[in-house]
Amino acid sequence: MAYVAIADRDHELEHHDPTTFITKYIWSQDHKVIAIQYSITALFVGFVALVLSGMMRLQLGFPDSFSFITPVSYYQFITMHGMIMVIFLLTALFLGGFGNYLIPLMIGSRDMVFPYMNMVSFWVYLVSVIVLLSSFFVPGGPTGAGWTLYPPQAILPGTPGTDWGIILMLVSLALFIVAFTMGGLNYVTTILQARTRGMTMMRLPLSLWGIFMATILGLLAFPALFVSAVMMTLDKAIGTSFFMPAVISMGEQLDHAGGSPILFQHLFWFFGHPEVYIVALPGFGLVSDLLSTHARKSIFGYRMMVWAILAIGGLSFVVWAHHMYVSGMNPYFGFFFATTTLIIAVPTAIKVYNWVLTLWQGDIHLTVPMLFAIGFIFTFTHGGLTGIFLGNVVVDLPLSDTYFVVAHFHMVMGVSPIMVVFGAIYHWYPKITGRMFNETLGKWHFWLTFFGTYAIYLPMHYLGFLGVPRRYFSMGDTEFMPESAFVLNQSITISALFVGVVQLLFLYNIIVSLKKGKEAGPNPWKATTLEWQTPDTPPKHGNWGHELPVVYRWAYDYSVPGYHDDFIPQNVPPNPDIPAHDDGTHHS
């Protein structure tokens, strides 16, 4: 079947043409509505996780000052914070939110190829979030096993939430994976099969390359989490011994015997490391488009950027055990995983150089999205470099259980993706809502968040070098920790609370601008990609009116010499008045 026929299947769209309030906004099969549903749910649950981190910081900065933070609740906060941020916020927002909104619009399609499955994907995701949050209200509360849920402690008495919390966590993860798989199959198939005429793979904006590769990684890696969740549920619920060794718990010999906790770690990190890239690759893609658009310059080395995404995707499956150096392993394995970890830094570094070279001599507009995009380059480079430290076995061993690791993964996987999330929301907000946000508030939001997060995480590296252990509820009186470490902890806590409160600026801005923002017009950033060329803003159901757009060029025709505008949308036909690009001066 020819591809044009698929992209032009107008009649199929009529099947889910919304006619009532419920089909338009609740049981909607429109990818844009589903994207917004995904995003709002993810942001809501992300705010819950942000509050949890604030509570943890209160305890760490001012130990034993707050009666509502006990050792038990501290571990519950830490676990839920980690799991929510990584899975239920970032994965869901990048792929369920941005993926859903941008894929059909950027490829010139009317919707996803399986709209019904897309709708079900969101509702299953919502159920998984409800199941997860319900664990706050069950006897024993949520699990406090840490987001990695290592057995045997995750399911043994003594760890918080071993009554119901851990079961709800595992069920919630399994549901999330089902939801993600339904969404992911949609994203992959839509990008492959529903592109409009002229939209070759190599004319896709990098946002979609990132989302595409991340989805493939998710589809192949999430099963590892599913496998470990199922096996751990069985260990907990009916007493099998997949992961559980012989254990004496509370003076009693348990029925488990012979299981391997290391097996769990392998399965978990076989998912866990690709997960880093499931979050990072969409961020890489989105930030590439933000930088190019707001620097009015074509992305530097488009093909190299695509190849780097492919290389990172492939390599991300062979580095997982660098999370397990402290679990002990054959030194040759350690050598292997350290080497692969360092190799993956090469395509990643290529991307960073290309972003910087895209900015080089660009006509940089310091808009709010651009500020966040540049902020991302800083925080990502920072977090990436400390990753190279930790990828080496001999450096990792002493640092692994300290705040150095907390600082590293928050810079690389917390702050950087969130920079992209904010940048991307500000960037596409005018298209999604038809209104502009308040630029001044946006800039305040950026600068306070950017410096605030540095005030949190930069000192944590020093705490790590001092040997301050992570995961501890309270440090107590320890000789190796100087007084300054405690003062630093207070300063970090104040910064963290400050940054948390600053996010209200963002919430206020996007809510108030819905009504009070000035009309954005169809293409306020003068961007080239197809979503900015829709006949309506916000795009209506079916996106394109009667005719699908036809694509003639790539997504990065900015500042083409001789053309009257400094951008040429992808659907503008070649024009003899525009000089060809083969002069080697501009686009080579």
Partner: protein, 221 residues
């Protein structure tokens, strides 16, 4: 994890190789009339549902490969005592092969527009699959009666787990089969169910392969 890695390496090599081919010899910065380009470069010449199914099969392959990796790793520990697989499994396997054959015949009938063969084939395929699932349950009962409880040994636990997982995937297929059969029996013509029949056939063949692989592994360990 070697087992899972090999499978994933094959899948990733296929995906990345295909994507790389899209990128070679292209000058994305050159604006061209799309008619001058190879039409639909990078579009697979198949219905989206088929591409979706192939992607789903890749996901399920990853799932089973990871379970098998866990199986092989857990097996090496000292407490593993292999269980004696019931002979009934041979019969079940034969029935599942029959189901697959029935679907293959149905697929041919759908493309040649032979409504009677189509209906009979579809029903036979469904009945055989149901028999297979009942047979698996009977095998569970036999094992249970012989004292092979799930908590007794990891080998038992894996047996129940893997067969249950395979059975659940077949049940998912049966849902699509049920919808297709209902449509056909309530008057839909062969042409309108052709795609569903084709997808079912591919899925059943795939699950037969998975079962043969699982069965071989269970027998040999």
């Amino acid at each position: 994890m070697t087992f899972a890695l090999v499978f994933l390496a094959i899948i990733m090599a296929t995906v990345i190789g295909w994507l790389l081919r899209q990128s070679l010899n292209t000058q994305p910065w050159d604006a061209k009339d799309p008619l001058e380009n190879q039409p639909g470069r990078g579009v697979i010449n198949a219905d989206p549902a088929k591409v979706g199914l192939i992607a789903f099969i890749a996901v399920v392959t990853s799932l089973f490969a990871l379970f098998l990796s866990a199986y092989l790793m857990r097996m090496q520990l000292g407490d593993w005592r292999p269980l004696a697989e019931p002979d009934l499994l041979w019969l079940n396997t034969a029935i599942l092969v029959l189901a697959s054959v029935a679907f293959q015949v149905t697929r041919g009938a759908a493309s040649r527009d032979q409504p009677l063969t189509l209906k009979v084939g579809l029903v036979v395929g469904g009945v055989c699959t149901t028999l297979f699932l009942l047979g698996q349950l009977a095998a569970w009962q036999q094992l249970h009666a012989s004292g092979y409880f799930m908590t007794g040994n990891p080998a038992n636990a894996f047996f129940y787990l893997l067969t249950a997982l395979h059975g659940l995937h077949l049940l998912g297929g049966m849902w699509v089969w049920g919808r297709t059969t209902m449509r056909l029996l309530t008057g839909a013509d062969a042409q309108s169910v052709r795609l569903s029949v084709e997808l079912c056939t591919v899925y059943w063949h795939y699950l037969l392969l998975v079962w043969i692989g699982l069965f071989a592994l269970l027998l040999s360990t």
